[in-house]
Assembly symmetry: C4
């Protein structure tokens, strides 16, 4: 079998399009953001992506129906430029898997007239913060300047090191091997749990950059749910340890 199998549901033609990559990862920030966008924009799935680089299993939904683990491609046509969203259940299990899946989707993106790539992720800071900042990395000056105006921080010291996984590879391979300019938007997150608060900040920047007019209200509901859980955890900590959790709420 091919290492990556794309099963087309719909043969779409896009123009002047932006590829958005939001996969599971740190604080699940990328995936929450991508899912929200798909849901609220009513983006339409046009391809399932299967691969032996994903875990060998099916997931079972509430109705006991089995679904082979997958990545997915969605699109939304707009006069300001079409939107292409890549998300999924898992990232590739190995280095080779990560590269091969990203490469295959970038090949498709070329045929779908993608002009830029925006990857989404979490930036782990190991503590809770009231309003997570959105940190950025880039491969193109012009894009950087545009999102810098929207409050994204391109810091010398942060994020040090690197960006691992799809959020890094789509950015780096897109630029080096497919001539695609790109930015990565990373929401600060404790990294300890699924973090809709961080995703909300990333979503706001993304919506503004793409000139999409949808609200982030439903993310607030998810934030509330998570906060109730984390507040309980904080309350159950002895007084002196609360500060260590870095929670200023």
């Amino acid at each position: 079998m091919d290492s990556v199998i794309v099963k087309m549901i719909d043969n779409v033609k896009l123009r002047n399009s932006t590829l958005i990559v939001g996969l599971p990862g740190i604080g699940n920030v990328g995936k929450i953001t991508a899912d929200y966008l798909i849901d609220k924009m009513k983006a339409k799935k046009f391809a399932d992506v299967f691969s032996y680089h994903l875990p060998p299993q099916v997931l079972i939904n509430n109705d006991a129906r089995a679904k082979l683990v997958r990545n997915e491609l969605y699109y939304k046509k707009r006069k300001e430029g079409d939107i292409l969203i890549f998300t999924g259940d898992f990232q590739g299990l190995t280095s080779q898997g990560q590269y091969e899946i990203s490469y295959r989707i970038l090949e498709m993106s070329r045929d779908l007239n993608v002009k830029e790539v925006i990857t989404l992720g979490g930036y782990q800071i190991g503590k809770l913060v009231e309003i997570p900042r959105v940190l950025g990395s880039y491969t193109n000056e012009e894009l950087k300047e545009k999102v810098e105006k929207l409050g994204v921080i391109f810091s010398k010291s942060e994020p040090g090191g690197g960006i691992v996984g799809g959020a890094g590879l789509f950015l780096g391979m897109g630029y080096e091997l497919f001539n695609l300019p790109g930015i990565c938007l990373m929401g600060e997150t404790s990294g300890y749990f699924s973090d809709p608060k961080s995703a909300k900040q990333v979503t706001k920047v993304l919506l503004e950059y793409l000139k999409i007019k949808i609200d982030t209200k439903e993310l607030d509901e998810k934030v509330k749910e998570i906060e109730e859980i984390t507040n309980k955890i904080v309350e159950n900590q002895p007084e002196e340890r609360r500060e260590d959790l870095g929670y200023f709420g």
Copy 2:
């Protein structure tokens, strides 16, 4: 060498056939069931499957004869629809191995006019039960309804998560990549040892669904053997721990 090598023993033509997948796994439920069916139906082996995704070794039988580890395909012709059974010594060692072996057999199944796939496995509950239930997952409503009438439980909450390995992949890939409807039958099992009691329940459902008229007496003998062993284990536990073992016998 090819990653999966099918060595044909007999060139069979099947029609209107059902693929049954019973590989080693949790409680060995799938394999016990497949072996029993092969034995009692006098199904005939028509292909050996070798792969570098299986462990690099031979097994040695009682006579000191060496046998390369393998998977196997059996068939049984019937006027109600032919039966194809896939079983083996091991499952693929890696994710890629799991996918490649399943994919190769599904390719063959297409040529053998397989119309549906039934995968067998154990569902680990971590305790002993008197009469294990048979839980199901599905990719096709019609099949689901048929086996639901036979007592299979398609629960919202169970089995949560997913089905890992061949029992999951044949179901998921069969549906997504080969257009094959399917169900997975999972016998509840402690998961601590080879579990013929769980296999017996799965076998009963399978026989009824396929309208095969063989008894399950010999499975009862295996159940007795295992129960003698597990009873001893329970007796050797201090009184207060027996309940934890969840044994209601």
Copy 3:
């Protein structure tokens, strides 16, 4: 690069030949035996085998010269039937590596008119014995009977389980995929160190079977060296533990 690269040193034509496989493994029994045979028969190397399934390194000899890790093929022409010996620095690092290297050499063997394969190894018993027995496994009745007459034990219970690595794969794949009859000769060994005493017993059987007239004196010297070391270890054990080491000398 190809996964296995055979670098021919000499283009040999063999007839009526026997393939002997002696690779590093338990007690190093297979490799010691192969090396001894090569040395005493003055077998000639005709091919180096390199592979990315071997460790990524060079070995450095006493003279500081670097040698890429490799497997090697030797031959000896004889009127009783030619001899082909496969040995090397390492076995493949992964399951796929083990299979691919064995398969490639078996392909070559077919072109070199190999009529049978004899694999050599150690059988770990976890204790020292005065005279290690030679245990056998087989894929062909006739070969089994021949070596049984030479004292090789084909036991129902031993070796239980299986034979892992090249000693198993050349036997199993040779038989299933290349139609080559074969036997595996395993010298009992503690498995705790390189074991020339076990190798000597295997060598004796092999020489007799192949009607090769060389002595095993030099192996005795190696045995003495190792025994001096192990005797010291035994002497340094408290009295009551000596028996546990299973040393009857």
Copy 4:
């Protein structure tokens, strides 16, 4: 995607050239030396090498710009013979990765008229020394004699074992599969941190061998920085442990 992707920046033609390999590794000696040479000789990059055998990530520089992890090829034309330098962010993650990247670069080297290969590395001795020696290994007597005159030590006992990674593979595969004579220069290093002092000794030998006239002053500055750090560590050790650190300064 191909396992190794070479992105040419400049189509160079070299003649009578020497391939120098300095990758990250023990004490980072190889990489420090290669980087210094590139910097001081003003060598020009002519190819980026990407691979799914490298980690799946981008690195982020001080300016927040993302760079896909890579290996790199530099060249410098000279009338004494051209210089080709291979360096990079990481070595291949797996055995197969190490082999495939080395093999691909050696293929390119053949087309670039490489006549010899010099690999650079650290030789871990587990303690600090005042003046690290440069140890050598070789595949060609003539080259060995040349560098032996420059003080490189080709010892019977050191380096025992082997040379792992690119420093070993370029040497071993270069010789066996590309007919390229070669030497490996290893600077003694504690191996506990990045070691410019060791790299300086290797650099000196290399410059002399290649008849390159650049100084090693800037390496001295790096040595000073590291020494300040390690001196502090030594001072913070209790008196009796200082000797264990093997520091004779």
